[in-house]
C-alpha cells in the first residue's frame, strides 16, 4: 500500500493521531491466538488497543475474536478482558461501568477505567441490538466497537443484518432466483446515532490513522460512543489472506464503505472520496460477490450500485444538513 492511500483528512485536535510513531508500542494483545491467517477483525482489535492512551478493560461478545483469543488456558489478552455471551456485551459493560462508578464513590477505586466492547456484526446488528440500545439510552461510558465482517463467520458464514445486498453466504446463496442476499445492509450507524450519543463513527482497518483518531476521540467522551469498523474476512469473503487490507481499502475507495463520523449530532465525512473507483474493483477480488459480474445477475449488480450511491448521497445530505448546527 502506498503512503498516499493512507493520507487522512480531519480536523486537528488532541485526539488526532498524526503518525504511527506516537502510538503505544507495548503490545496489548499477545500472539498465539488462533485467528485465521490474515484476519481482518484481529487487525481492528490491535489498532484499537494500540490507539488507546491507557489500558482499557475489554468486554467481548461471543464471536470470532472471542473464540480465537481465549481457548483455555491460552488467552491473548494483555488487558483485562471478559466474555459472557453473544447478545449482551453492552449490558455486561453497563454493569462494569456502573459498578466502577459506585466503587469510585466509595473510594475503593481511584478512577473509572475506559471500557471497550468488541462485538461482531451479528452480535451488534442482530442479536445484540436490544442490549446495545438499552446501554446507549442509559448513557454508560463505553466505546462499543462493532467489527463488521458482514456475516456470521464464527458459525460458518451465515447472513446477518450487516451482510450487503447480493453477497453470497451459506444462508443467502445465489441461484436461479436468488442473487445472493436479497435485502439491504441495515443502517446501524443511523440506528445508533438516533440515540443521540455523543460520538459515532465508521472506520476501516485499511485507514489506521483515521481509525485511531476516532478511537481516541471516542474514548475522550464521557458517555457511550460507537465505532463501526470494516474488517474483511478472507475466509468468508473468499479472497487471498494477503489482500485483507487491500479489500478494506477498496471498500472505502469505491464508496462501498464510507468513512464518516457523527459528533454531537453533526455528520462529517472524514475521508471524502471525490473520484470513486468502479464498484467492480471491490467486488471482483472477492468470491462472495463474483457472481454479480455474470450477465444473469446484472440487475442485482445495478441494484447494489444504486444502494451504494444512495448511501453516499444520504450521508452527504446528512453532513450538509447538520453542518454548523
Amino acid at each position: 500500500m502506498s503512503s498516499d492511500a493512507v493520507r487522512q483528512q480531519g480536523e486537528a485536535s488532541s485526539a488526532q493521531v498524526r503518525s504511527l510513531f506516537e502510538v503505544e508500542r507495548r503490545e496489548r494483545l499477545a500472539p498465539g491466538h488462533r485467528a485465521c491467517a490474515g484476519c481482518g477483525p484481529m487487525i481492528a482489535v490491535r489498532q484499537i488497543l494500540q490507539a488507546s492512551q491507557e489500558d482499557p478493560v475489554v468486554v467481548n461478545a461471543t464471536g470470532c475474536v472471542e473464540v480465537v483469543t481465549s481457548v483455555y488456558p491460552e488467552t491473548a489478552w494483555l488487558v483485562p478482558w471478559a466474555h459472557v455471551a453473544f447478545e449482551n456485551s453492552a449490558a455486561v459493560t453497563s454493569g462494569v461501568e456502573a459498578a466502577m462508578k459506585a466503587l469510585v464513590r466509595r473510594g475503593e477505586l481511584d478512577k473509572e477505567r475506559p471500557v471497550v466492547v468488541f462485538a461482531g456484526d451479528g452480535g451488534t446488528f442482530d442479536i445484540g441490538i436490544q442490549a446495545l440500545s438499552g446501554a446507549l439510552e442509559r448513557g454508560h461510558r463505553m466505546l462499543y466497537v462493532c467489527y463488521d465482517n458482514e456475516a456470521y463467520m464464527n458459525t460458518g458464514i451465515q447472513r446477518s443484518g450487516a451482510t450487503p445486498y447480493g453477497a453470497w453466504t451459506t444462508t443467502s446463496p445465489y441461484g436461479k432466483i436468488w442473487p445472493g442476499k436479497r435485502e439491504r445492509k441495515k443502517d446501524i450507524m443511523g440506528i445508533v446515532a438516533a440515540h443521540g450519543i455523543p460520538y459515532a463513527a465508521t472506520a476501516s482497518i485499511s485507514h489506521w490513522k483515521d481509525l485511531m483518531t476516532k478511537v481516541r476521540k471516542a474514548l475522550s467522551y464521557d458517555g457511550p460512543t460507537f465505532l463501526h469498523v470494516y474488517a474483511p474476512c478472507n475466509r468468508g469473503w473468499r479472497f487471498d489472506p494477503s489482500l485483507t487490507v487491500e479489500v478494506a481499502k477498496r471498500a472505502v475507495e469505491t464508496r462501498f464503505f464510507p468513512l464518516y463520523e457523527v459528533e454531537g449530532g453533526r455528520y462529517r465525512i472524514t475521508l471524502p472520496v471525490t473520484k470513486p473507483r468502479p464498484l467492480e474493483d471491490f467486488l471482483s477480488i472477492q468470491g462472495r460477490f463474483r457472481h454479480l459480474l455474470l450477465p444473469q445477475y446484472r440487475e442485482a449488480l445495478e441494484t447494489l450500485k444504486r444502494m451504494v450511491d444512495e448511501q453516499w448521497e444520504r450521508i452527504n445530505r446528512m453532513a450538509a444538513a447538520t453542518a454548523g448546527s
Binding site: 489500558d55 488456558p73 449482551n88 449490558a91 455486561v92 453497563s94 466503587l103 475503593e108
Partner: protein, 396 residues
Amino acid sequence: MMEVQQRVEMKKVFITGDDAVAHAARQSRVDLVAAYPITPQTVIVERIADFAANGEFEGEFVAVESEHSAMSACIGGALTGARVFTATASQGLAFMHEMLYAASGLRLPMVMAVANRALNSPLNIHNDHSDIMGSRDSGWILLFAENAEEAYDRVIQGFRISEAVNLPVAVNLDGFTLTHSAEVVNMLSDEAVGAFVGRPPRRNTLLDKEPKSFGMMALPDTYQFFKEDQQRAIEGSRQAILAVEREYGELSNRKYGPIKAFRAEDADVVMIMLGSYAGTARAAVEATRSEGIRAGVVSLGWYRPFPADELLRAVEGASTLLVMDRSVSYGAIAHPLASDVMAALYRAGIRKRVVNVAYGLGGRWFTEDDARRLFRYASKPGPDFESFFYYGGESE
C-alpha cells in the same frame, strides 16, 4: 424463632415481602442493582429506586431493558468485584436463564431475589415454583423463605455466603403470597447489617493491576474440569452457609438452617414442602393429630445444595412422606422435590411410602383443611409411590 433477648436494636415494621427484600439490599451496602420490572417482583425495584432517589442507597441503580440484561449487568458488576443484587420472577427468570449459568460458571458472588411465580402458557401471574425449578440446575445456591422476615434475613446472609464461596445465591420468596402481603418484620439497624455484611473481598477482578481474562472458551479437553469445580464449590458451600446462619443467629436471635422440622420427630406422615405454604401445613398438624394421625411437617430452607442428610434424619421415624411440589416435571417419574427426596432415600438405602402431590399451581389456594385431607389420605395404606395433582382451596 423470635422473642428472647436481642443482641441488636430491632425495628418492628409492618411491611410486605418486597419491601423487606428492598430494605435488605439497601442495608447490605450493595454497589449495583440492575433490574427490570416483572410482577410480582416489581415493588422491590421500585423501593430501591425510591431509596436511590432520596440518597438512601449508596450503589448505582441501573434500570435495564430486560431481565437478560439485568443478569448480564450484574455479571459485569460482579466481575469488578462490586456487590450486586437483582430481583426477578417467572418469565423474567426464564428470560435470564442463559445468564444464570454464566454467573455461576464464572463463580461470581451475587444475590438475586426470586418472587416465585408460574410460567406462561397460559399466562398466570400467581405464585408457584415453576420458574425456579426450571433453573434449579443452573449452579446457583437456592434458598427458600417462608415469610417476609426470613426473606429479609436470607438476602442479607446471601451476600456473605456468596462472597465466601464464590457462587451466586437466589433467595426464593413466594410471589404475592409473600411479596405482596404485609406482615410484621423486625428489621436490624443499618449499622448492624452493614457491619455483618462488611465489604466484598474484591479478589481477582477485571480491575486488578495484572490483566486477567474471564469467561474463556473451554474445549472438550478442559470443559468438564470447570463443571466439576462448580459441583465441588456448591457441595462445599454447606459449611459456609451454616457458619453464616449461625453468626447471623447470634446477632438477631433468628436461627435458620437447611430444614425446618415441625412435630416430625414422632410423626408417621411427614409433609415435605418448599416455601410459604409450610406455615399453613404446620397450622393443620394439631387438628390432624387430634384425628389420631401423627402428622409432621418438614420444610426446606435450602434447596441447592440439597440438604439430604438433615432431611432424612428429620423423617427417620416416618413411614410415609408426602412430598409437595408446586411445579411439574413433565414426563418424569416424580416432580422436582420428590425426585430429590427419593434420590436421597435411595442413596441412604431407605424405602418409605412417597406420595408426591402437585398442588398450588398458578396460585391455587392451599388451606389447613387441604393439608388435613392430604395427611388423612397419606396415612392410609397405599403403594410405595404415587403421584397426583391435588386441587385444594375449599373448606370442609
